[in-house]
């Protein structure tokens, strides 16, 4: 790696923190700081301005959503810093909170994804580069949710597969690679999907993923339309 990415890790479990640090360091990241709670994290980010932060959703003192709220705050205050939230929850509600400021440089992964080492490292790099990564299980829950069952029934198997990848934050190019399809085929599928879901065609990947997630989320859609009250709430709590 000629250009090393700097990362700050926040997790109150020392063992996990060390394991993450070791994984990232071996992969060429510069682990600039480690933090055990949200305050430490904020100080570290203010000091080192890392390319990306990996933060556990639960941190002291309440072990609830301190990590999520810290992530929201970092996204607001440091636009150059990507944020990967490691979560125990598949509920998409948290996703909408996190995505309130847009889909640039943000990741939401279930914590156990850490064990799938390569995919995890790739995700962190993607977010550091300004991409968006959403855990596939979270996306699958969204696609399988009853709220959108009727809309999903209108899509073909292939279209559902592509929609899932869009929601996970993949670009058309990445989708082409993964499904071994031509760029043209993927683009036509994407157009068809967006049309069927009554979503506007979006050339921008970030806005596209946001639109799709908002559409799929059981609660986030409402939050999205209503000026994102959950995000405001989160910001108040996070600041």
């Amino acid at each position: 790696m000629d250009n090393q990415l700097s990362v700050v890790i926040a997790d109150d479990a020392v063992l996990m923190r060390e394991a993450l640090a070791s994984l990232l360091a071996r992969d060429g990241f510069t682990v600039a700081a480690q933090a055990g709670d949200a305050d430490e994290l904020h100080r570290a980010v203010a000091r080192v301005r890392p390319d990306v932060v990996v933060v556990d959703v639960r941190m002291p003192p309440e072990h609830r959503f301190e990590g999520l709220h810290a992530a929201v705050r970092i996204r607001r205050e440091y636009s150059g810093t990507g944020v990967v939230v490691l979560s125990q929850h598949v509920e998409t509600h948290y996703l909408s909170t996190l995505m309130a400021g847009g889909a640039r440089g943000v990741g939401y992964l279930l914590k156990e994804r850490v064990a799938g080492i390569d995919a995890f490292l790739t995700a962190v790099r993607q977010v550091a580069a300004g991409g968006c990564v959403v855990d596939q299980q979270v996306v699958h829950r969204m696609l399988g949710g009853q709220r959108r069952a009727a809309a999903m029934a209108n899509l073909s198997e292939r279209e559902r597969e592509i929609l899932s990848l869009i929601a996970q934050g993949r670009s058309n190019q990445a989708i082409c690679r993964q499904l071994v399809l031509t760029k043209k085929t993927v683009e036509s599928h994407v157009r068809s999907i967006l049309l069927r879901l009554d979503l506007p065609p979006e050339p921008d990947d970030h806005r596209r993923v946001l639109a799709v997630l908002s559409y799929l989320g059981p609660w986030s859609e409402q939050a999205y339309r209503a000026g994102l009250p959950t995000a405001q709430q989160a910001q108040q709590l996070g600041s």
Binding site: R64, A115, I117, G145, T230
Partner: protein, 598 residues
């Protein structure tokens, strides 16, 4: 006269039940009667002076009639003093005043003379009132009220008309001017006189009939007290009638007149005797009983006792923790005081003490009975307070149980996430690292084993996540009822329509209870209802959260106490809410929980 009397009556005769808060019953009576007596004495002295100045009256006759008036005043005072709750004393005093007022017409001063003319027959309706209201001082029957009212009206109307249109000076020269005279109409005078006589006879017949009826149909409580007054009245009437019949020339006439006058003097004493015979005990205790029906503070009970026992200085002490008694005024009450009466509860314990001013004329049994009744009242209040405190405690402990159970669920959920799950993730990472280490290893079996272990670990983490969510959904704590229910509904393999618009955050026990009601209701729908659609509505109105889960399934599924909803009903009840299940075969099922939000 009439109006004035009514005002007095309202002040004096009000029972504690009816007059609470305004005039204290009876207590205002004494000053009023004392003032009336003072007026009466003044009137009596004036009358006596006028009679003596007039010179036309026989001294013995004057002395006896004046004595009769004063006896009415005195006996009325005594009756009032000894039987404060009885209006008879006041009526007697008023009769005395009226007698003297009638003498004002002897005055040579035009103003006093005119007043005397107006009051010339004042005693008549008062005597009627006294007789018909005897012995309790209240007109209890409709005929009695009608007759008395008629007597007042007749006297008022005829007195006023007579003053306005009859010039006494024209009949008896030498009298002072009638200041209110409008015109002298001799015919009117005659007509008035006759009409007055007729009304007088009607009223007299009414009074006699009423008394006779009550005497014959009433019990001892009426007959005994009124007997002396009736006896004296009969003797007086008989003497008067006989005297009139025999004519003033008959040798027996002076004797009969004397008998009449002496009887007149005895009349107030006969009334007094009757009034005293009537014990106030029963009436007072009735008042106390009525007052005791309402829940009252110790101070209020003291006030009621003070009223009933006519003793404003009465003190009520309640037991303090150190065994002493503390009065409602905050000062200690000595239970060894010689007037002290101990109040005992149902278990014989002393639950209070009364001290009072000894009144020599008061029936000691009244105080004892009042004390016993006060004991019952206090005991009742104590028991009621204990019961309601216990009920409140049970209620609070139910809420605590619900809250504690929720807290425990939250704690378990947190422990699972922060402990077991965290650890499993670390182990999964370790396995993955190990797998990489052996990546180049030709031992295919080991690689397969590690792969299987990694997959099992992943499944375990998923299951643990679901377990934790089932124990307590984090979303509920973090985002509230609406998002948590929406997420829940999204997981149910059925079209569930959630309407939770404008739902604000509620207290944790309320949100958790509502959430579990929805969760349980949805579980039931999946199990039994064969529904095609479910509607979940969450609304808050007037400080109550309404949770409604309605399906279009087969319905008719009974909810027993052993079921999940049966358990939730207890939980809803603990928060003072209601859980109802409305179901009919073929018409679906609606589960409704109504929970106060504060």
């Amino acid at each position: 006269m009439r109006i004035e009397l009514t005002q007095h009556a309202a002040g004096i005769g009000t029972t504690p039940a009816a007059g609470r808060g305004s005039a204290v019953p009876g207590r205002g009576g004494m000053p009023v009667v004392a003032a009336a007596t003072a007026v009466g004495v003044l009137a009596g002295v004036t009358g006596l002076t006028l009679k003596l100045a007039d010179g036309s009256h026989d001294p013995a006759d004057t002395a006896l009639s004046v004595l009769g008036g004063f006896l009415f005043l005195g006996a009325g005072m005594v009756a009032q003093l000894l039987r404060p709750a009885n209006r008879t004393g006041l009526l007697m005093v008023l009769v005395g005043i009226a007698f003297f007022a009638e003498d004002l017409q002897l005055s040579r001063t035009p103003a006093v003379f005119t007043l005397g003319l107006l009051l010339a027959h004042a005693s008549t309706p008062l005597v009627v009132h006294l007789l018909l209201a005897f012995p309790h001082g209240r007109l209890t029957t409709r005929p009695a009220r009608v007759i008395t009212g008629a007597a007042y009206c007749a006297v008022l109307v005829f007195s006023v008309l007579a003053v306005l249109f009859v010039d006494r000076a024209a009949i008896t020269p030498g009298l002072p001017d009638n200041l209110l005279l409008v015109a002298h109409l001799p015919v009117a005078g005659t007509v008035f006189g006759h009409a007055f006589d007729v009304v007088g006879v009607v009223v007299a017949v009414g009074v006699i009939a009423s008394l006779l009826h009550r005497y014959l149909t009433g019990d001892r409580a009426f007959r005994v007290p009124i007997t002396p007054a009736l006896l004296v009245a009969t003797i007086a009437a008989a003497a008067s009638a006989t005297g009139s019949a025999l004519g003033s020339t008959n040798p027996l006439h002076p004797l009969l007149t004397m008998i009449y006058q002496v009887a007149f003097c005895l009349w107030p004493l006969a009334f007094l005797l009757g009034a005293l015979w009537v014990r106030p005990t029963q009436a007072a205790l009735t008042d106390l009983l009525v007052a005791a029906q309402r829940p009252a503070s110790a101070a209020r009970l003291r006030a009621t006792l003070a009223e009933v026992l006519r003793d404003p200085s009465l003190r009520l002490g309640l037991p303090a923790p150190d065994g002493a008694f503390v009065g409602t005024d905050g000062d200690p009450v000595d239970p060894h005081d010689e007037t002290a009466l101990l109040l005992t509860g149902h278990d014989g314990d002393a639950i209070g003490v009364l001290t009072r001013r000894e009144a020599p004329w008061q029936d000691a049994r009244l105080a004892a009975a009042a004390a016993a009744l006060a004991g019952v009242v206090l005991d009742n209040q104590k028991l009621a307070a204990e019961a309601s405190a216990r009920l409140a405690e049970v209620h609070a402990s139910r809420v605590r149980l619900v809250t504690a159970a929720d807290d425990e669920r939250r704690r378990v959920e947190r422990d699972l996430h922060d402990g077991a799950q965290q650890r499993l993730v670390t182990v999964a990472l370790g396995i993955e690292l190990a797998r990489r280490q052996v990546g180049a290893c030709p031992d295919a079996e080991l690689v397969a084993l590690l792969d299987a272990t990694a997959q099992g670990m992943s499944a375990a983490i998923d299951e643990l996540r679901e377990l934790a969510r089932g124990i307590h959904p984090v979303l509920l704590t973090e985002a509230g009822l609406g998002p948590a229910v929406a997420e829940l509904a999204d997981r149910v393999p059925l079209p569930v329509h959630v309407s939770a618009a404008d739902l604000l955050r509620l207290s944790a026990p309320v949100e958790a209870t509502a959430y579990f009601v929805v969760a349980e209701a949805l579980t039931n729908v999946l199990k039994h209802a064969a529904a095609g659609r479910v509607d979940v509505r969450l609304t808050v109105a007037a400080d109550r959260l309404r949770v409604e889960v309605a399906d279009d399934g087969v319905g008719g599924v009974a909810v027993t106490d052993g079921s999940g909803l049966g358990g939730l009903r207890d939980r809803v009840h603990a928060l003072d809410g209601e859980l109802t299940v409305h179901t009919e075969p073929g018409a679906g099922t609606t589960v409704t929980a109504d929970i106060p939000t504060r």
